[in-house]
Amino acid sequence: MLRSVWRRQSQAQLIQKIEQSRMNFRGFFIFPDIWRNIMDIERQKSAPLYEALEAFRRRRVVPFDVPGHKRGRGNPELAQLLGEKCVGLDVNSMKPLDNLCNPVSVIKEAEELTAEAFGANHAFFMVSGTTSSVQTMVLAACKAGEKIILPRNVHKSVINALILCGGIPVYVKPAVHPDIGIALAMETAEVEKAVLENPDAVAILVNNPTYYGICSDLKAITKLAHDHNMLMLVDEAHGTHLYFGENLPCSAMEAGADMAAVSMHKSGGSLTQSSLLLLGKNMDPGYVRNIINLTQTTSASYLLLSSLDISRRNLALRGKESFAKVVKLAAYARDEINCIGGYYAYGSELIDGVTVSDFDVTKLLVYTQGIGLTGIEVYDLLRDEYDIQIEFGDIGNILAYISIGDRIQDIERLVGALEDIKRLYSKDPNGLYLGDYVQPEVVYSPQQSFYAQKESLPLEKTAGRIAGESIMCYPPGIPILAPGERVTEDIIHHIRFAKEKGCSLQGTSDQNADYLQVIKE
């Protein structure tokens, strides 16, 4: 009896020793810069954080630390729901597992491997979604009163970051596609105009690709930014796959951008809420880490972190084939949907070199007003009548997210359902409104207006007033109005139409969005 206990202990100790010596070896092994840009497949086969977690699990350490569910034993229903393995890995930071706030061992190694896989100078694992990556970019680039050049159709996280830091947005108006009503790319000429008019701006931010798959000319805009001493920031929430697939649009790091926010949990396959922030060679990782630590939790979830590590390994080893399959599935679906008639599933034919520099063909977007229905109506029908949940529907379009987890039979269901929706629900398309993009008049900075004295008015009575809060359809989460912008009749009409068609409106203090907070005059 004693003997066997002794043997088990010594085995555990042995495993620990091997693990440690392996880690030390890797830690001291410094790669010369020239090797950085070339992804070493052998190195990418390891997943240091995941391996450390596995080793930790095998040691069966008795927990007298948080989390208090103690490997799920204290919360049996939770363990039943998530599985014992999952709750067993929900652990706290500790020496063998490193600490996200100041990584020195396995998280550091995992971040280094990630940087290498993405061709970045540094990578941060993020646990508060890509929202936190985007906010870190803005906070790291821009202080109170400093200008940042960006397209108006940014995600709300950008505008919220400006509320936090007091930066001033300079909006570049994106063109709008006349037939399908989506905002297009940041035109290089328009950006240049903004740069010349605002030489004191500190950064340019581009969302690339947009939710709609539209890409700007990243290389040209990056050059423009660097020529004028500005930082180039890319909201790459919808672009993880660009780093691994073939024949896809240029990624931010490839274009030489300074920071990129990458949603690993979208096309990369990691758990919801996990994300990456990538840095180029001009950025100081130490400063950026300080910015991250201003708002980041000190109890980062190891489920999220290990999912980032495993997903990075998976993408590095199998990303190329996986995304080739995604491209094929999306192309097939696009062709089939275009055969139904009435719908328009658009693709690379949108590329014109100016308003659309490139198109991300993994995105399956369909213009639906041709069958007399708004995107949001088709989105609701797909879910309520056909048990198909798609990413979003807006006034004119739907987006079905195709990813590494999709199967051909599911694509057939989607196409079949769209055909059946046309058969059963199509209407006269006349009288539908596509919504025009209106360049808002920015009267105050987002921060000034957010903290200003406000009053709540019925939406209809706000024309001419200045918004004190955002209002947006979610998804896609692009504000129709941001704090500090003047409300117009057009904007009110747009909001009412979106609401009538069933869009979920967010951002206002009034949860029904019947009232809007405006700045007191």
Binding site: E336, C339, E385, Y386, D387, R407, I408, Q409, D410, E412, R413, V415, G416, A417, E419, D420, R423, L424
Partner: protein, 289 residues
């Protein structure tokens, strides 16, 4: 060797003497076992699909019920049906001119050909065309072509789940002629998990077709042993338009189906009837176009 099948809460075990075959196709894991009680058994992903001992019940019930109602069936579509059992029953009808069997899984067809030659023999009939394609994909764009569609796909869960959806019923409605009939397996209403699928299926068929009735059979290797079929039709009613005299005159040899049983099969237990009535509530019939 024991084989366990079916839900978490209820298991049925069948002694198996040996395994004859196992393969993994793009869609599923296929295995064939030999059992003393049921003869050869075919399983997909570990669930029994059919056994040599009771396959006749299923196949006869999905074919002879609609064939004795519809006055003249010439063009038939079988979705799934890679085992050939449904086609075998159909080739007994001389007026049938064409039978399309749409089965995506060629490995499954090959396994059936090899281990169930008696069931697959219909595949040699010149009227039968095997099309290796996804059912929904095949149906897309088809308008008014078939007199009868039989959905012989396995399960509303797994790779054939697309064949139990509203879009599938809609596609079938469109692919049928104006007096066409669709028959589909409706699962069992007995266990909780299946009861939900059962209700949903009836709701979809009820809202898609002017006539939709459910009928029953006893199939030992199906979960709970009690199995249902759906009869969805654009014109003919399964009882009012039923023609037993004509069918009996054909002299087709069956083991399960009789014209007396035909009417009985539509007489349902109260709990099933109530399930169906409940599912029909709040459901609006589609505008038929």
């Amino acid at each position: 060797m024991d084989m366990w099948l079916y839900t978490d809460n209820s298991k049925m075990s069948i002694p198996v003497s040996r395994q004859l075959y196992s393969a993994e196709s793009e869609y599923q894991k296929i295995a064939v076992f030999e059992s003393p009680q049921y003869g050869r058994l075919l399983t997909l992903d570990g669930d029994i699909l059919f056994s040599a001992a009771d396959e006749f019940i299923y196949n006869e019930m999905v074919v002879h019920v609609p064939m004795s109602v519809h006055p003249c069936v010439k063009n038939v579509l079988i979705i799934g049906g890679g085992d050939g059992g449904v086609a075998r029953e159909l080739i007994a009808y001389p007026e049938v001119e064409n039978i399309d069997v749409v089965e995506p899984d060629e490995v499954f067809i090959e396994a059936c050909r090899e281990y169930f030659p008696d069931i697959t023999r219909a595949f040699d009939d010149r009227r039968v065309n095997i099309i290796e394609r996804d059912g929904l994909r095949f149906l897309r764009g088809k308008v008014g072509e078939y007199d009868l569609i039989i959905n012989d796909s396995t399960d509303p869960f797994g790779h054939t789940e697309g064949l139990f959806t509203k879009e599938f019923y809609g596609s079938c409605y469109r692919a049928l002629k104006d007096d066409g009939i669709m028959v589909y397996q409706h699962g069992s209403p007995f266990f909780d998990e299946d009861e939900t699928a059962f209700r949903a299926m009836h709701r979809k068929a009820y809202s898609t077709f002017p006539i939709s009735r459910v009928y029953q059979a006893h199939i030992p290797t199906c979960p709970s042993g009690y199995w249902m079929f759906g009869f969805a039709s654009k014109k003919y009613h399964p009882i009012n338009d039923f023609n037993p005299v004509k069918w009996n005159a054909r002299g087709i040899k069956t083991w399960y189906y009789t014209t007396n049983l035909h009417i009985g099969a539509f007489m349902l237990p109260r709990y099933v009837e109530e399930l169906l009535i409940e599912a029909e509530k709040n459901e609006i019939k589609a505008v038929f176009r």
